[in-house]
C-alpha cells in the first residue's frame, strides 16, 4: 500500500502575538511546527504502512525551510519526503495550492491513499484536501476518525458528523482528511531521528512539474486579501465575588433575560 501524506509547516499559533503599534503579526521568535492535524495524518500513514506494507511518502509545499517539517515526518516513520518549493508558488491560495500539490502527486504517480490533516491551524480552511481530490477526480472522505479496514482495494472508514459519525466504504485510490480522534501520534524514536538527519529530501520546483504557470502562486489565486485587522478586544468583564451562593445568584440574574 502506497500512501502520500500532505503536510504543512505553520507558525505555532499559540505563540503568535500582535504588535499593538503596527497592528501586524509578530512572527519573530515564533517557532514553526508541523500543523497539529497533520501529525495525525503522518501517524495514520505510518501505521497503515506498518500494517499493510508499502511506502509512506510525505509531501509539503512551502518555503525552503519547510524541509525541517519533512525531516520531522521522517523521524516519525515516513519513508520518503518531497519538498515542493519555488518562488512561483508564493501567494498561493487554496485553489493554487491544491493545483500545485496535485501536479506533484501526479508526478509521484503510484498511490493508494492520500492523507491530509482536517485543516491547518494558520488558515483553518479545510479546503486543500478536498481540492486535491477534486483535481485528481478521486473519491474523498473528510473528517475521518477511524479506518476500520482496508481490503480488496477498498477502505471502510468512519467520518465524523455533527451528530455522530457515518461508516463509509470507498474504493482506492482515495483521499481522506483526518481528525484528532483517529490516533495518538508517537514520539520520534532515536533511530528515526538519526534517519531523518541523513535522509535525502527530494526537491521539486515549478519546472519539474507539469503545470500551467498562469495557475500558480498569487496569479493563480482567485482570492485576495484586501484588509487585515485585529479583532476588537473583548470588553472588560465583571467578576462576581463574595460567597458562592451570592455570586451564583448575581450571575443568574445577569443572564436571566437572555435565557428567556
Amino acid at each position: 500500500m502506497n500512501i502520500i501524506v500532505c503536510i504543512k509547516q505553520v507558525p505555532d499559533t499559540t505563540q503568535v502575538r500582535i504588535d499593538p503599534q503596527t497592528n501586524t503579526l509578530v512572527r519573530e521568535g515564533v517557532q514553526s511546527i508541523i500543523n497539529p492535524f497533520d501529525m495525525y495524518a503522518i501517524e495514520e500513514g505510518v501505521r497503515l504502512k506498518e500494517k499493510y506494507g508499502g511506502k509512506t511518502t510525505v509531501i509539503t509545499m512551502g518555503p525552503p525551510q519547510a524541509e525541517n517539517a519533512l525531516r520531522d515526518a521522517i523521524a516519525l516513520g515516513c519513508d520518503e519526503a518531497i519538498l515542493v518549493s519555488d518562488r512561483a508558488f508564493a501567494g498561493s491560495d487554496t485553489l493554487a495550492t491544491s493545483y500545485t500539490l496535485t501536479a506533484a502527486i501526479k508526478k509521484i504517480r503510484e498511490f493508494d491513499m492520500i492523507i491530509c490533516g482536517k485543516q491547518a491551524s494558520d488558515g483553518d480552511t479545510a479546503q486543500v484536501g478536498p481540492g486535491i481530490s477534486a483535481h485528481l477526480d478521486i473519491p474523498q472522505v473528510t473528517y475521518v476518525k477511524k479506518i476500520e479496514e482496508i481490503k480488496d482495494k477498498t477502505a471502510t472508514v468512519e467520518r465524523m458528523t455533527e451528530e455522530g459519525f457515518e461508516i463509509l466504504k470507498t474504493p482506492l485510490p482515495c483521499l481522506i482528511t483526518v481528525v484528532k480522534e483517529i490516533n495518538e501520534p508517537r514520539i520520534p524514536s532515536l533511530k528515526g531521528m538519526m534517519r531523518a538527519k541523513k535522509a535525502t529530501i527530494t526537491s521539486w520546483k515549478a519546472i519539474d512539474l507539469e503545470i500551467e504557470e498562469v495557475r500558480l502562486g498569487l496569479n493563480g489565486s482567485p482570492t485576495q486579501v484586501v484588509k487585515i485587522f485585529t479583532p476588537a478586544p473583548r470588553p472588560k468583564g465583571q467578576i462576581f465575588d463574595g460567597p458562592a451562593d451570592e455570586a451564583a445568584h448575581k450571575l443568574a440574574q445577569a443572564l436571566k433575560d437572555i435565557l428567556q
Binding site: P36, Q140, N219, A244, A248
Partner: protein
C-alpha cells in the same frame, strides 16, 4: 477561445453533448463540434469525456462573461429531510446582500422527498428554490452533490454562492470551487458588499482568531464562501412571501458515487451538536474526573445547553472527542459559553473566544480565562455550579 476537441481522441460517444448545460456541442460526422458562440468554457464536457478528447487551456485571468453572473445563492443543507438551521441564517444574510446588489436570492435543495421544504425556504428569504430530488440523494455524498451543485452553478451563473461551514458544507464546496475554478473563503464571520465595485467582502478569522482578514474574489465567479454557524441573523418567517420552485432533473450518471454509506450512527444525547447550540457548558481539568460531568449536564439541561470539554478533559478520557472545543476540536460561537474549571490556554480560547457572552468559573483568579470572560466567578466549581443550576431553575421557573 481556448477550448478544442482533439479529433483523433473523440469516439463520438455523445456524452459531452448531453452534459453541456448550454447546448453548445453537437455531433458532426461522429465527432463532437463546439459552438464557440454558445460555449462558456465551463468545463463540464472536459470532465465528462472519458477519452480526454476535449481540452481547455486557461490563459484568461478571469471567468468568461463575468458580467453575466447574477444572484445570491445559498446551499440548502438538509439531513434526513430537515433543513439545517444555518441555512436560515444564510438566507437572512443573502437577502441583505441581494438588496445591495439589486438582485435576488436562490436556494439549492438537494435530497429526497424534500419538495415540501421549499415553501419554508421562500418564507425565510429565498426568491427561487431549485430542487434536485432523487432516492439516490437522500444522504449527502461528496461526488453526486458536488457534481450537481457545480452543474447548476454553471447553468445559472450566480455571482455569490454561500454555504454553511458545516462538516458537509466544507467538504462539498471545496470540491465545487475547484471544478468551477473560482475562489472560496472558509469560515466567514462577516459578509458585506463593497459599495463601489459590488464585490463580496468576506471577513474571517485567521491565525486562530488573532487577526481578521477581509478577502475578495475579484475576477472569478461565483464568489464562494462558507459561513460559521450562529453569526448571521435569520429573518422572520413571512408566510406571505412568494417565490418560484424549480425542479431540476438530472441523468443517472450524476447520482453515481464511488463512496457508499454503510451506516449512519447518531450518538446518544441530543446535547452533542455543539455547532448549533445557543448555550454551551464546558468543563476542563478542574472537573477532576468523568464522574463530575453530570454536574455540567444538569446545568446544561436547565438552560437548554450542550456540554463541551477542553482538550485536557478529552485527553484524560473524561469526555468523548466530539465534545472538544478548541484548536484541535471544534470552533463554536454560542450566545453563552460557560467555562468551568478551564484555565483558558490559547488553544482553548481560539475555539470559543467569539462567543457572545463568556462565563468563567475557576478557582484561580489569575487564570487567563478571566481575560476574555464577560462574567466571572472565582470559586470552587463544585460549589458554584450546583448553586447556579438552582438559581437558574428559580429564575426560569423550572
Amino acid at each position: 477561445m481556448n477550448i478544442k476537441v482533439i479529433v483523433d481522441k473523440c469516439v463520438g460517444c455523445t456524452l459531452c453533448v448531453k452534459v453541456c448545460p448550454f447546448g453548445a456541442i453537437s455531433m458532426q460526422g461522429k465527432k463532437a463540434v463546439i459552438d464557440l458562440d454558445k460555449c462558456t468554457l465551463c468545463g463540464a464536457c472536459v470532465e465528462t469525456c472519458k477519452f480526454g478528447a476535449i481540452e481547455i487551456k486557461r490563459t484568461s485571468k478571469q471567468t468568461e462573461n463575468i458580467q453575466d453572473y447574477k444572484g445570491v445563492w445559498v446551499f440548502g443543507e438538509q439531513k434526513k429531510g430537515v433543513v439545517q438551521p444555518v441555512v436560515f441564517e444564510l438566507l437572512g444574510k443573502a437577502r441583505e446582500l441581494a438588496q445591495k446588489l439589486h438582485t435576488d436570492v436562490s436556494c439549492v435543495l438537494i435530497g429526497h422527498n424534500v419538495k415540501a421544504r421549499a415553501q419554508e425556504l421562500i418564507q425565510r428569504g429565498a426568491d427561487t428554490v431549485y430542487i434536485v430530488d432523487s432516492a439516490d440523494l437522500e444522504n449527502f455524498l461528496d461526488e453526486p452533490y458536488s457534481k450537481i451543485l457545480t452543474h447548476l452553478a454553471r447553468k445559472y451563473r450566480p455571482e455569490v454562492l454561500l454555504c454553511g461551514a458545516t462538516f458537509i458544507g466544507r467538504a462539498l464546496v471545496s470540491r465545487v470551487a475547484v471544478k468551477l475554478h473560482t475562489g472560496l473563503t472558509a469560515d466567514c464571520t462577516g459578509l458585506d458588499i463593497d459599495p463601489k465595485e459590488k464585490l463580496l467582502l468576506q471577513t474571517r478569522p485567521a491565525f486562530g482568531g488573532n487577526i481578521m482578514a477581509t478577502i475578495i474574489t475579484k475576477n472569478f465567479r461565483p464568489q464562494m464562501a462558507t459561513v460559521r454557524h450562529k453569526v448571521m441573523k435569520e429573518i422572520e418567517v413571512d408566510a406571505s412571501r412568494k417565490g418560484k420552485i424549480i425542479e431540476e432533473t438530472f441523468d443517472k450518471p450524476f447520482f453515481a458515487s464511488r463512496t457508499k454509506i454503510l451506516d449512519i450512527v447518531e450518538e446518544v444525547g441530543s446535547t452533542v451538536n455543539l455547532a448549533e447550540a445557543d448555550i454551551i457548558v464546558s468543563g476542563g481539568r478542574g472537573m477532576r474526573g468523568p464522574e463530575n460531568f453530570p454536574l455540567l449536564e444538569e446545568l446544561a439541561q436547565t438552560i437548554n445547553g450542550a456540554v463541551g470539554a477542553s482538550r485536557a478533559a478529552v485527553d484524560s478520557g473524561w469526555m468523548p472527542y466530539s465534545h472538544q472545543v478548541g484548536q484541535t476540536g471544534k470552533t463554536v460561537c454560542p450566545k453563552i459559553y460557560f467555562a468551568c474549571g478551564i484555565s483558558g490556554q490559547i488553544q482553548h480560547l481560539v475555539g470559543m473566544q467569539s462567543s457572545k457572552i463568556i462565563v468563567a468559573i475557576n478557582q484561580d483568579p489569575q487564570a487567563p480565562i478571566f481575560n476574555v470572560a464577560t462574567y466571572g466567578i472565582v470559586g470552587d466549581l463544585f460549589q458554584v455550579v450546583p448553586l447556579l443550576t438552582k438559581e437558574f431553575k428559580k429564575a426560569l421557573n423550572k
